[in-house]
Symmetry: C2
Subunit: 280 residues, 2 copies
């Protein structure tokens, strides 16, 4: 695995790979890598000739300076974890990604103020902008995103389609800890007690999925049911519980495949999770 | 010259050209082609293997429905004018460029509410978004923009740099009618009388340039001088007169190369023009 720090270097490498008609699988990350990332890398490895991973804690997608400051990072540990599976690790500096006269921002309407967008104003603009930069720099054939961040996957997919960017965006199922807790770089911030408690989020999603499968079709009733389960989790603060279609449209009555999305804090750690319920 | 209507078709053609290591020169237009466009095409012809021109009257960059409606178009005339010099003419429909679920918008900060951005709110977002789409669809090596739309050239250059899009943006000097009036698709909307009057805009720019060369260094005084000249044009309504550095920064005292930009209506026709003054 070669470690590259400059935009111009990885861009040349990537363009040469594509000119030779080899495929590139790309995984953008903010570091603090875990098994969820390894699963994305494995998918990319299976489907492409070359695998590029980026690590960049993107300040523009943080909506809170304290959150940015405490975001975990350990580049040396990350490097060791992935070096057997990855061809190029791209680790640009902030100056490299955002020179002082940087001015451009991408808005994917509808998402900007919905769900994560409502609670993290400006988050998706920052995320979409940096993902776009990585896509044009690393010119991947396929780029891989974890479905734990379901709305992020939808925002990136929409941007790529709208701007005609020549890449396939692939959503990869959430990897979970044995307890059911969705793998996340933020999990290391949880106390031991809170980490056990956090497993109840997925249990609530599973219970609510069963409620739907048992016949409940009213979105509001389903959301209320899930909310009541989450409210029983000690030390937590719920931000949203939402039933949506897979393209994230609101629906009063469940008549198709849906995704149930939740966001909450446990202690001072913000967590999100979701579950897809197929309407067979 | 082949006429292509589908995004997927021109995209395949363009990507194949680039895979064969041929270069593409691209000129995005809104039709109503004139000698200014021919000059852009000539430049592209000289510097590239293949030349692609697009014609698309982009509704998203019009800030006024009436202005969009009366924008001149004559695709058959355009086709005949350029067919000897161009390899591919791309003429997508609105549905082809903006499917019903289109949601993405690009903002190039600083410009969004400045000069043209101030008087045509949302104009640059619409323009930047469509230019981005054309650049990812037609993957040009070089793209050509007339410097009559100086701020547009700066917005596109900034977007391309910020988003790491792999294309060289080239600004081409304004072509003028014999009278000095800057070539523009909108000129055909001027009455015969107004078209003669409109030539006085460039005369005002030249006079003001001489004022600067003669030693006037105060931007405000220079702007006032130019404004007074424009105010003498009958049937006109001035929107702005601005002295800026070449990257379009405000400066109180002229100490470097500058651009003097003006926008005004004559009758019901909105015109813009500018002149660069080198500080030797």
């Amino acid at each position: 695995m070669k470690v590259i720090k400059k935009v111009i270097s990885i861009s040349k490498i990537a363009n040469n790979i594509r000119l030779k008609k080899n495929t590139i699988g790309f995984i953008p990350t903010m570091g603090a890598l875990h098994e969820g990332h390894l699963f994305l890398i494995q998918k990319a490895r299976e489907e492409n000739d070359i695998v590029i991973v980026s690590i960049f804690v993107n300040p523009k997608q943080f909506t809170n300076a304290h959150d940015l400051e405490k975001y975990p990072h350990n580049i040396e540990k990350d490097r060791l974890l992935i070096e057997s599976y990855v061809d190029y690790l791209f680790v640009p500096s902030e100056q490299e990604m955002y020179p002082s006269d940087f001015h451009t921002s991408i808005t994917v309407g509808d998402h900007a103020h919905d769900l994560e967008g409502e609670f993290r104003s400006g988050h998706f603009e920052g995320m979409a902008t940096v993902v776009h930069k990585f896509l044009t720099i690393c010119v991947p054939t396929r780029a891989y995103f974890g479905l734990k961040d379901y709305q992020q996957f939808m925002v990136v997919s929409q941007m790529v389609e709208d701007l005609n960017i020549n890449v396939k965006i692939i959503g990869v199922p959430t990897v979970r800890e044995e307890s059911g807790l969705a793998m996340s770089s933020r999990n290391v911030q949880l106390s031991d007690v809170d980490r056990k408690i956090a497993a109840r989020v997925y249990k609530a999603l599973l219970d609510t999925k069963n409620k739907i499968i048992s016949g409940e079709r009213n979105s509001h009733v389903v959301e209320k049911y899930c909310m009541d389960l989450l409210l029983q989790i000690p030390n937590s603060k719920i931000e949203y519980v939402a039933v949506r279609t897979l393209p994230l449209k609101r629906i009063p009555i469940i008549q198709s495949d849906i995704v149930l999305l939740v966001a909450l804090s446990i202690g001072h750690v913000r967590l999100i999770d979701n579950i897809i319920v197929r309407n067979n």
